[in-house]
């Protein structure tokens, strides 16, 4: 886990709220920008608008 300050964006797609919560908290603590999607459809949509790096 490398800590980057330059604000890499991560899109988390998972239907399990607990996993999402875990990832969100942990990744945000590592200073990533987090976006969430709970379905595949939503994930594709968000990926096109928000472009994760």
């Amino acid at each position: 886990m490398t800590i980057t300050e330059n604000g890499a964006r991560i899109l988390v797609i998972d239907d399990e709220p607990q996993i999402q919560k875990l990832l969100k908290v942990t990744l945000q603590a590592h200073h990533f920008e987090i976006h969430e999607a709970t379905t595949g459809e939503d994930g594709v949509l968000q990926a096109s608008s928000f472009i994760p790096i």
Binding site: M1, D15, E16, P17, Q18, I19, K21, L22, L23, V25, T26, Q28, A29, H30
Partner: protein, 901 residues
């Protein structure tokens, strides 16, 4: 004697499947036969020498049987070689012991002896057969005089009957025949030198004459040559060398119930061997020939058995015209040689039979008929008494006498007013009646008596037997002729009827059994049916043995419930033997003739399913070959029926296995997902907390801890459900009933679901007074948690979930309504099935266990759980729990825990 032989040289390849031949050879032990002309040619010596060579090659040799050697050289050789020997059992060869020891090679001196009546197998060659069947090689010695098919010739040469014989079919299985020979004078010299006592020597001196020995030697040579010939043929077949194969023409022997037929059978065997063809022994059963005469029946079955032992296919056909039946069978089976006996003396009773020979010769187009005159010798054998149509019945004769006397008394006063012709005709009435009811004898008696009465009372001069007018004599003769004709016709008709009735009964019992069996699917009623049918058919008690789970044979059905039949140890031993070997045994068979029953294996092509035993203790008779064959047919039917039932059971089991396999896969899939997701969150959160402790703010930390708790709670719910399911399945779930308050239960449940209800709005609606219910608090909470968490799972955020309680007349109904995705009508019942998940909820994680457990628990409480559509949208689950009578006044809660399965 008409004798024309014709050899067709048609080519026929691959008479036997070579592969089958090879595989059969591979299983059996090899039999080497040391064949000699007479005792003293050195067979045993040769056998011992050959066995010693085998021992030098490292083969384990066991001396199975050794005659007390009379010849000094054999004696000394045997003493020198010292083969291990097995002690005799009851003065017989210990076949079972030999098989148990499993040597590589067993030596058996003299193949022909007849074992005692109580032996397992009546003849020693059958012992050897068993040993060979276990894959053990055998060396055996045999003198030519003991070969069954040569029996007639041998007894003619040596002047007495040889009783101990070995059938040719067995000898043909010998893999090697080694002919041991010595010059005639040397054999005689050896005999003179042999260590015999005087009486033995005297008894055998007649046998050891140069002429005898020469003849026997020649027979041995011929026999061996024949064998070499057939081995060559086999070799050519095996190597697919095409050669001038003999045609597939068959030899047919016509067998009757006379002892003379034995000679014909042996002759047929020899001819078939010479032509290298198959042969058939035929018996035509005619209504006239059908008799109840015990001795004759026995002779017939002995004849047919001999034919079978000599390798014939035994055919019994029934018909009216012997010649026609024989010829049509001969044509259909491609018989080219037919052997038929001609009685030496023509008797009135047999003129019909001699005409059979003539008819056959007349119509034999293309079939060579060998007519063999009966030899004087066989005539010396006790002839079966002339067949009697029926037993002499005094009763019918008395009836006739009485009725004729009565007729005479009635007619006498009118005698002079009646015409004499009318009186004569009236006297015919008892004749006809007795012909119909009594048979030929009574009808003759009635005719004679009638004539006498007529003559005495009505023909002038009256009251005397003298006849004034000689024309009356003609009337008497006509009267007698009419009586004879009608009597014999009626009698024959009756016999025919009886005969066809018996045949019909056989067919009917087979048909009935097969029809019943195809309908039965339960093995016990099947067995009962079989035993009842068979015991009806055979007229004796019947028992059926089937193997149990451990493949141990058990008595499974018997036709008489209270009888001790089939219980004794000896019966069990025989049944086991039959089960293991798949061969028929017991009274009237080759094995264990002296036992009290007949044991027939229930076998299909590939398996033996059990044993059927017929108790013959009460009847001294051996079952007729016909009945045995019917019995075998019935057993075949029974076996296939058992096979069918067993296969059906196996199929059912396989289906069940597949179902449970499916279930297990579903369980594993869902459970593993349900377990691993919370585990993954717990592990992830804990790892994050440990590794990046500095990074997290206190809120983050709290968030992660909450995640861990949620995961653990989720796992806890799953494990509780799984355990509950297991308990329910194994009937181990017991209710700890207490008086509980529904309001309390709802409160506890709401606290539990609060952690994962997210933003659903749970609304509770309670009436003022809710009666206490008797139930297991913890389990009821589990039910409600499961139902409410389902409602949460399948409904959107910020929607309402309504929990309401209603008191009905005899029950309390808790309803949980959500505004979720709802249920298809078909799923409303099935969602309570184990592992069932509605199609629309596949994307939501879950095990499909929750509602099944709810159903189980609620039903244990005597309640009902149902699902129905909610008013607007979503699902409403109703849990109805019964109210106990005493619950209304809500008395003091009993503290004792009552358990209820």
């Amino acid at each position: 004697m008409i004798r024309t032989l014709r050899y067709n040289e048609l080519e026929q390849e691959n008479r036997q499947d070579v592969r089958q031949l090879v595989s059969e050879l591979a299983k059996r032990g090899k039999l080497t036969l040391f064949l000699g002309a007479a005792a003293g040619v050195g067979k045993t010596y040769a056998m011992l020498t050959a066995a010693e060579k085998q021992r030098e090659q490292g083969i384990d040799v066991l001396l199975g049987w050794m005659e007390a050697a009379a010849y000094p050289d054999t004696k000394s050789l045997n003493a020198k070689l010292q083969f291990p020997v097995l002690s005799k059992k009851n003065g017989l060869m210990d076949t079972e012991g030999i098989i148990q020891k499993r040597p590589g090679l067993v030596l058996v001196d003299n193949l022909e002896p007849v074992n005692g009546p109580n032996a397992m197998r009546p003849k020693r060659y059958l012992d050897v057969e068993t040993i060979l069947g276990h894959g053990i090689d055998v060396y055996a010695t045999l003198n030519i005089q003991h070969v069954e098919s040569l029996n007639d010739i041998v007894s003619r040469i040596i002047g007495w009957n040889v009783v101990e014989t070995v059938p040719d079919t067995f000898l043909e299985q010998a893999d090697r025949i080694q002919l041991v020979d010595a010059p005639t004078d040397e054999i005689i010299q050896r005999f003179n030198r042999a260590g015999l006592n005087e009486s033995e020597r005297e008894a055998q001196r007649k046998f050891y004459r140069a002429g005898n020995i020469d003849a026997l030697r020649e027979m041995a040579f011929r026999y061996a040559a024949q064998r070499v010939d057939s081995q060559l043929e086999q070799y050519m077949q095996a190597k697919k060398i095409s050669g001038p194969w003999p045609v597939a023409e068959k030899v047919m022997v016509c067998v009757s119930a006379s002892p003379f037929s034995k000679q014909l059978i042996r002759m047929g065997r020899q001819m078939a061997a010479g032509l290298k063809s198959d042969w058939i022994a035929v018996y035509v059963q005619t209504p006239q020939g059908f008799s109840k005469d015990k001795e004759k029946q026995d002779q017939l079955s002995r004849n047919l058995q001999l034919a079978e032992e000599l390798g014939a296919e035994v055919v019994t056909i029934s018909g009216n015209h012997i010649a026609e039946e024989l010829l049509s069978l001969a044509r259909s089976r491609n018989v080219k040689q037919m052997i038929i006996g001609k009685p030496l003396r023509s008797r009135i009773g047999e003129w019909l039979r001699s005409s059979v020979v003539e008819q056959i010769i007349r119509n034999s187009h293309g079939i060579n008929v060998h007519v063999i005159p009966a030899s004087l010798k066989s005539d010396q054998e006790p002839r079966a008494p002339l067949r009697g149509y029926r037993s002499f019945s005094l009763k019918s004769y008395a009836w006739i006498t009485v009725s004729i006397a009565l007729l005479t008394v009635i007619l006498h006063p009118f005698g002079l007013t009646f015409e004499l012709v009318n009186i004569a005709l009236l006297y015919l009435i008892p004749v006809l009646l007795s012909a119909v009811y009594g048979g030929i004898g009574p009808s003759f008696y009635a005719a004679a008596l009638g004539v006498l009465a007529f003559d005495f009372f009505f023909v002038p001069p009256f009251l005397s037997f003298t006849v004034a007018d000689l024309r009356y004599l003609v009337s008497f003769v006509v009267f007698l002729a009419v009586a004879a004709l009608t009597g014999s016709l009626a009698a024959r008709l009756k016999e025919q009827l009886r005969f066809s009735k018996q045949r019909e009964a056989h067919t009917a019992s087979l048909y009935a059994l097969s029809r019943q069996m195809s309908a039965i699917t339960d093995i016990h009623s099947l067995l009962e049916n079989v035993s009842r049918q068979v015991s009806q058919m055979a007229g004796t008690p019947v028992a059926i043995y089937l193997p149990d789970d451990k493949n141990e044979l058990r008595l499974s059905a018997s036709s008489f419930v209270h009888s001790q039949l089939g219980q004794s140890d000896s019966e069990m031993v025989i049944a086991k033997w039959v089960y293991q070997h798949g061969e028929i045994a017991g009274k009237g068979s080759n094995t264990l003739r002296e036992s009290s029953g007949l044991y027939v294996p229930l076998r299909t092509e590939d398996r033996i399913y059990g044993v059927l035993s017929v108790n013959l203790e009460s009847s001294h008779a051996v079952l007729s070959p016909d009945t045995v064959r019917l019995l075998e047919a019935l057993c075949g039917l029974a076996a296939s029926a058992i096979a069918r039932v067993k296969l059906a059971e196996e199929a059912k089991l396989a289906h069940l296995m597949a179902e449970s396999e499916k279930l297990r896969t579903a369980l594993l899939d869902s459970v593993s997902h349900e377990l691993r997701t919370p585990l993954a969150t717990i592990i992830g959160s804990v790892t994050g907390l440990i590794e990046g402790d500095r990074l997290f703010s206190p809120e983050d930390r709290l968030d992660l801890l909450a995640t861990i708790r949620d995961g653990a709670l989720r796992m806890n719910r799953l494990v509780t459900n799984l355990l509950g399911m297991v308990k329910l399945e194994s009937d181990m779930l017991h209710l700890r009933k207490k008086w509980c308050d529904v309001e309390d239960i709802i409160g506890v449940v709401l606290a539990q679901v609060k952690d994962f209800q997210q933003h659903r709005n749970i609304r509770v609606e309670l009436p003022d007074h809710i009666p206490m219910i008797l139930g297991d608090e913890v389990l009821l909470e589990q039910v409600l948690v499961n139902v409410i968490s389902n409602a949460i799972k399948f409904s959107p955020d910020y929607s309402n979930i309504d929990v309401s309680v209603k008191t009905e007349e005899s029950s309390v109904v808790i309803a949980v309504a959500d505004a979720g995705i709802g249920l298809a009508a078909a799923d409303r019942e099935r969602i309570f099935d184990k592992f069932y998940r509605a199609e629309a909820t596949r994307h939501v994680p879950g095990t499909g266990l929750g509602l099944a457990i709810c159903k189980g628990i609620v039903e244990l409480h005597g309640g009902l759980i149902t699902a129905q559509p909610n008013v607007d949208r979503g699902t409403k689950v109703m849990i109805s729990l019964p109210l106990n009578e005493e619950s209304k006044p809500s008395p003091l809660p009993p503290e004792g825990e009552t358990e209820q399965p």
